[in-house]
Amino acid sequence: MLLRFVGLLSCLFCLVSCQKNEEANSSKVVRISSNDDIPSIDPRRARSLASVNAVHFLFEGLTRKATDGSIECAACDNFQVSDDKTLYTFHLKKLFWSDGTPLSAHDFAYSWKMTLDPTFKTANAHELFVIQHGKDCWEKKLPAEQLGIRVIDEQTLEVKLEKPLSYFPELLTCHFFYPVSKKWFSTHPEAKELSFDKPPSNGPFKMKSHRTGEGIVLEKNRHYWDKESFHIDSVAIVVAEDSTALCLFEKGELDWTGSPISTLPPDAVAHLKEQKKINFCPCAGTSFIRVNCTKAILPQQVRKAFFYAIDRQGIVEHVLHGDHLVAQKFIPPCMLPNVSCEQGQIPQASALFEKALGDLNLEKGAFANLSLIFIPCDVTQKMAQVVQQNFKDAFNIDLKVEACESKIFYERIQKLNYDLALGSWVADFNDPINFLNVFKEKNNGTNNTGWENEPYKALLERSSYISDREERNQLLANGEKIIMEEYPILPIYHYTFKYLQQGRVKGMRLSSFGTIELRGAVLLQQKTTGT
């Protein structure tokens, strides 16, 4: 009996383990940890940072970010903009997909049209409403032919925008503007989106293998036009829980762990800092508290008092081990520096609050049920406790802190069923508008505070017509000032990315938007050790 069992077991083991281990030759693979599986490698559908990073390795848009952060042409050779700044004509390079088939303007047009096709399921459709009639076509008010995308010839693509958009080339670096192969979809009519089964890609890497729950392995795309800038043969995104990833890293089985697609275990950070192993990188992201502006007890004066009461320095020093930046404004300084907003000062909070109560004829008792909701994790839990204590000290209010499971949290903030809620925003592309648009309209899906301000909206509208960077930034800074006078949100800190990187990898970088850059990176052929 026992013998039979052992036999069965060994047969099963052979069966399971005969699946090839694609990253066996680890000396040439860069292994990056992710704490979540990759939901999708379809650029039109990617949402999570893990997906966006995989898409970023696999695909490339018309423009890309140069190593100095500026925008340069990628899939296109050059482009012209019409005088009214709404018509862009892109002249494509002669490019090939990873399967050797030629890449044409049709692929870009197909990909974007599909995103705006109401029958195509994606949560990114609204990102392409900047294209003329984008929204109307998506809402089926206009036929798809009316969409402002025209293929002039195989190498020329014309895009008409709804209104001038000075940051359009910047926007084209985002994944939702990347192409997918039209030919592949015509030969796979049953496919609704790119599968993991080796779809053609046009970026520096192509798909090699995927196993659910384990991650993906990518290999170099020999058809990529700029392949000389990439010296790494293969990339693996390995799914591992945070502390497991740290163990694997310490054992030399991972080359990169931590931000952007996994987190370093908070308890290990202090120790790793002592050993000087952690790398830091500014992140274009801000953590803040959303205030439900539709509540009668939370008008501007009260929100301002709340903003003053929060001990940001304390949170950054004690909760976050001093690794992040205190935020007195919404937009991170790495994106829009030198904006002078009012600084919150704790000693004045109490007086502001008393004055607000007097002006508004409010009783302190009205705040008896005030609550702060958040998605529980080590950091948010402690942050909520600090804010609770701050409110007690400044206003003698007992703030209730309420941990909510993530999906319930999103539903509550979307339905404005909360008082205060911890939240955050990380930019997708390098323009302050990315932050300011979050609160442009009440119902845009990102606002969730019930706050809307006409001068603010007008100002953002105006900004898209201005192409001079300085002038535009000035205007957007004024927009930020409106937010920081109205306080629909109470900024707490600006994020900093923290990650570990093996010494054998040189030149691997992290952008402030959370994408890992492998251009120019090299793998030294040596035994792996920690940095």
Partner: protein
């Protein structure tokens, strides 16, 4: 019809009804949890959410969704996951189950013989030092949560002593620590159960008779005691085998094993309805199958259980 065939047919009919009940309860429970599967930290506009919900048929009346779900069970095709739309639930089961099942079988291979051994030694040395020692160990094993055992084993044997790989799946050595972690709980439980039931059997008259006949201890244990004492373990093995075969969330997370276990929890957290529904039905199918097999064993082992009685 032979009673044996009738037994199998009855079992099969009961199994189908049970799975149907499980599916119904699961469906209405998962639909009653608040939260939208498509909402995320980046915020999706209301009209986009509506589009997505329409596409996936979540805006249809509940009865239509329910019928679609029942149909998917009978075709055993649960469709794509909502969070990971490039993979279907069938893919998840197909790729994850063999890995989880392998770890589970290894765990059983450790848990059953060692658990029984500990139980027998404990019972034979009733109220002596060995008994106390093994009882202490088994209480420890039953009461230590698996995340503690997993992290401890990982730290000591993989990280500190470098005897085994830290995590991930690949070679036989990768499976050792996870299966030991999985085995410890059931092993301790089996040893406790076997000890208790053996002590019961010890006081039966036929055991005294066997001793009086002059049989050796080994023979008595094998032929007279164990055969009778093993029955409670058989009923315990049903749920335990299912649990270890379909994988454990904690063990698979800690050891980064691409098995089935973590999907049960992730499915609920993501409100991934096809994953929740599909995996729950799959789990109940495995559970019922294993229970039926063990019931058959029971019939063979215990002559008091008549085939007719199970009708």
């Amino acid at each position: 019809m032979k009673p044996f065939c009738r037994l199998i047919l009855t079992r099969f009919a009961i199994a189908i009804v049970t799975i149907f009940c499980v599916a119904t309860v699961t469906f209405f429970l998962m639909k009653s949890i608040p939260g939208d599967p498509f909402q995320d930290e980046k915020g999706v506009p209301e009209e986009c959410l509506k589009h997505l919900r329409q596409y996936w048929g979540l805006e249809d009346p509940l009865s239509v969704q329910y019928l679609r779900f029942v149909k998917s069970i009978f075709c055993f095709d649960f469709g794509p996951s909502l969070k990971y739309p490039a993979v279907t639930v069938n893919d998840i089961i197909h790729q994850g189950f063999p890995i989880s099942a392998l770890l589970g079988l290894e765990a059983l291979l450790i848990a059953i013989p060692f658990g029984m051994l500990l139980g027998i030694i404990s019972a034979m040395n009733h109220r002596k030092f060995k008994d106390s020692l093994f009882r202490f160990i088994s209480v420890l094993g039953v009461s230590t949560p698996s995340f503690v055992i997993a992290t401890l084993l990982q730290f000591v044997f993989a990280f500190y002593l470098s005897l085994f790989p830290v995590a991930r799946f690949g070679t036989f050595w990768h499976t050792v620590l996870p299966s030991v972690t999985l085995a410890i709980g059931p092993m301790a439980m089996i040893s406790r159960l076997l000890r208790a039931s053996m002590l019961d059997v010890f006081n039966q008259q036929y055991v005294f008779t066997a001793y009086a006949k002059g049989l050796s201890s080994g023979q008595i244990i094998r032929v007279h005691i164990l055969k009778n004492a093993i029955l409670p373990i058989l009923s315990y093995l049903g749920p335990v085998t299912t649990n270890v075969l379909v994988g454990s969330f904690v063990v698979e997370r800690v050891f980064a094993i691409p098995g089935l276990g973590s999907w049960f929890v992730m499915g609920v957290l993501n409100r991934d309805y096809p994953v929740i529904g599909g995996l729950t039905c799959f789990y109940s199918m495995v559970l019922i199958t294993i229970h039926s097999i063990l019931d058959l064993f029971h019939v063979f082992l215990d002559p008091r259980v008549k085939i007719d009685a199970t009708r």
